[in-house]
């Protein structure tokens, strides 16, 4: 078993991984860029190693610096979390070559699933349905134009090395294709250093359902049920739930089988997620596979009563999956809400310092957070602050619990998408369970709420108070750091 684990990440996922490591008696080692020296995840861990100065590219995305950090910390294992280098085969190899345990799948599996064009081909071989798309060999404008006609418009132009919907665009008419291709190549090149693009049939109002799979070195490969991820905004998930209200028994089993097939096709070991699209005719298609821990993994943990990170660490150490995992059945219903630092109206990322922070608690509430009071939130990293995970005996109770908990959450100093999350929990479409990926786009346009009289009066009382302000204000002020308003006061877009 790993003795000292370098957690090559930051924010909530670094903290979440560290918690399980400590429970297992594994020493947790944080890494941090100089700007992150005071970050929440650093203060949580037994040890911490600086990655030096610079932005993400020079620090959390630098293979040499991370390997060096692992050496300095005398770590014998590395957990990449999600994002950053978690799906980077070169990093996996470098960790292995440094004689450290890589907590993740083989570099080969990462590569095969990382290239969307290759993975689609692989899935087709394995008999897993994929969204109709352009021939892997089609590369030139002319070839892709021909393919577009064959597939039928509308089509999506996607980056082969892509993910997270970056550099994706919809094309409805042949004449718009050349421009879209040029644009997509440019974005793909800048985002992934690879301008290869391909076409996919655009499904109208699809469901986005993913299955958690898990494999060990002994050749066991199982699924751990689904997560419904259709509540998205700009192809970014904001609310996930399990079980999916869109699936019934037979369909669920067929999709689960396909997910396991997908994993088997690449001899998958460890925790992975197979993302599937479900169209209005209940046909499902392989979308992509994420070869790492998923942001929304906790809703699987609470409905099954397991710890996926513990299993990752055990499987990485060569152990086999617990026998009873093959017989797990979900209990109750779970929902995850992602809290982002963003402008409530424009949804643009916001920065600043969290001056007051109170987490929801009590029955059926779990919070995985990467921040606390005094945290500084910058624009150079993912704006995800924390995740609220609620569980209850049934879907309705889970939604009621999510509302209650969301209302308890106090975050002051940095604006968040809290109002949008509340709007989702109120939306009749969400309550009905019959919603698709266009749910958010159909919510009443977020508008700056007119503050109630109580808020105006509370604000006036705060202004009237000594400059230091009321207790919590002085706490924030005293917590020091650059005045967040300095950073953000200039742009009050939509304010």
């Amino acid at each position: 078993m790993i003795r000292r684990l370098l957690i090559a990440n930051r924010g909530e996922i670094a903290v979440r991984i560290a918690r399980t490591a400590r429970e297992m008696g594994i020493e947790d080692v944080a890494v941090y860029s100089e700007a992150d020296a005071g970050a929440f995840h650093v203060g949580q861990m037994a040890a911490a190693v600086s990655l030096g100065p610079g932005g993400p590219r020079e620090t959390y995305l630098s293979v040499p610096r991370l390997i060096e950090a692992a050496r300095r910390a005398k770590a014998d294992g590395v957990h990449p979390g999600y994002g950053f280098l978690s799906e980077n085969a070169d990093f996996a190899r470098a960790v292995d070559q440094a004689g450290l345990v890589w907590v993740g799948p083989s570099p080969e599996a990462i590569e095969q699933m990382g290239d969307k064009v290759r993975s689609r081909a692989k899935m087709r071989e394995a008999g897993v349905p994929v969204v109709p798309g352009s021939d892997p060999k089609a590369a030139t404008d002319a070839e892709l134009a021909a393919e577009a006609v064959r597939i039928g418009f509308p089509v999506l132009v996607k980056a082969a090395a892509g993910g997270g919907g970056k550099g994706m665009s919809r094309v409805d008419r042949a004449e718009d294709l050349p421009a879209a291709l040029a644009e997509a190549r440019r974005l793909a090149a800048s985002a992934f250093g690879d301008e290869k693009v391909y076409l996919e049939k655009l499904l109208e109002r699809p469901h986005h359902v993913e299955f958690q799979i898990f494999g060990d070195r002994a050749g066991h490969l199982i699924h751990l049920f689904e997560r419904e991820c259709s509540v998205q905004r700009r192809h970014q998930k904001i609310v996930e739930e399990t079980p999916s209200p869109a699936l019934e028994g037979a369909l669920r089993s067929r999709m689960a089988e396909a997910a396991v097939e997908a994993g088997r096709a690449v001899g998958y070991v460890g925790a992975g997620t197979v993302e599937l699209l479900l169209d209005e005719k209940r046909n499902f298609y392989f979308l992509e596979m994420n070869t790492r821990l998923q942001v929304e993994h906790p809703i699987t943990e609470v409905t099954l009563g397991i710890d996926l990170v513990r299993a990752q660490l055990e499987v990485a150490a060569g152990r086999t999956l617990p026998d009873h995992w093959a017989r797990l059945t979900p209990r109750g219903h779970a929902i995850e809400l992602r809290l982002y630092a963003e402008d409530p109206v424009t949804s643009l990322p916001r920065s600043g310092e969290i001056i007051e922070y109170v987490e929801p608690a009590g029955p059926g509430v779990r919070v995985d957070s990467g921040v606390s009071r005094g945290s500084r939130v910058g624009l150079e990293f993912d704006p995800l602050l924390a995740k609220l995970v609620v569980s209850a005996p049934d879907r309705r109770a889970a939604i009621e619990r999510a509302r209650r908990a969301l209302e308890e959450w106090v975050v002051l100093g940095v604006e968040t998408n809290g109002a949008m999350l509340a709007a989702v929990l109120r939306s009749p479409e969400f309550l009905s369970g019959r919603y698709a990926t266009d749910l958010v786009s159909r919510l009443p346009a977020a508008d700056a709420l007119e503050p109630p009289s109580a808020a105006w009066i509370a604000a006036a009382r705060a202004f009237a108070s000594a400059p230091a302000g009321p207790p919590r204000a002085s706490a924030g002020a005293a917590a020091g750091g650059p005045d967040p308003w300095g950073e953000s006061s200039g742009w009050r877009i939509g304010a």
Binding site: E356, P452, A454, W456, G469, R472
Partner: protein, 151 residues
């Protein structure tokens, strides 16, 4: 005092057991400043609030919602007069949809900024007229750089 929130400006006056909002009087009772913030009873209705002040800004949590306030100023840089829409992050101007002098309506996309591998539409916060457009398409802008000046 004059306070601004979301482009709205109100005149708020506080007295011992009352407050006036743009002249309208409200009875205010402070139930208790305690462990879970402050409880204000306004015209008989109870509200749980937490207010934190940073200089000329105040953030308020009120019964589950969060609001941002600023002291409304008279100077030309103050809200209600005209305001700059600035770059939320370093990036490149992808498209400019309006021209100087053009009058725009709330929510209308004024220009598109490409940053962090994503494209961000900069929208009009309210009905207004475009006073100045300091940049043209393709320009690289620093964070905080004025993109559109509205009057």
């Amino acid at each position: 005092m004059r306070i601004e929130s979301g482009g709205r400006v109100r005149d708020v006056r506080l007295s011992a057991e009352a407050a006036s909002l743009d002249g309208k009087r409200h009875v205010v009772r402070v139930e208790g400043e305690g462990a879970a913030g402050e409880v204000l009873e306004i015209d008989g209705t109870r509200h749980r609030v937490r207010a934190v002040r940073r200089g000329d800004r105040v953030s308020v949590w009120c019964d589950g919602d969060v609001f941002e306030f600023a002291t409304a100023r008279k100077e030309s840089s103050g809200p209600g007069e005209h305001e700059d829409l600035r770059a939320p992050m370093p990036g490149r101007i992808r498209k400019v949809h309006v021209a100087e002098g053009e009058s725009v309506s709330k929510g209308q996309v004024l220009l598109v900024l490409e940053a962090m591998k994503m494209e961000h539409a900069i929208r009009a916060p309210r009905d207004a007229a475009v006073r100045r457009l300091p940049h043209r398409e393709g320009d690289l802008v620093e964070m905080g750089a004025p993109l559109v000046e509205l009057s």
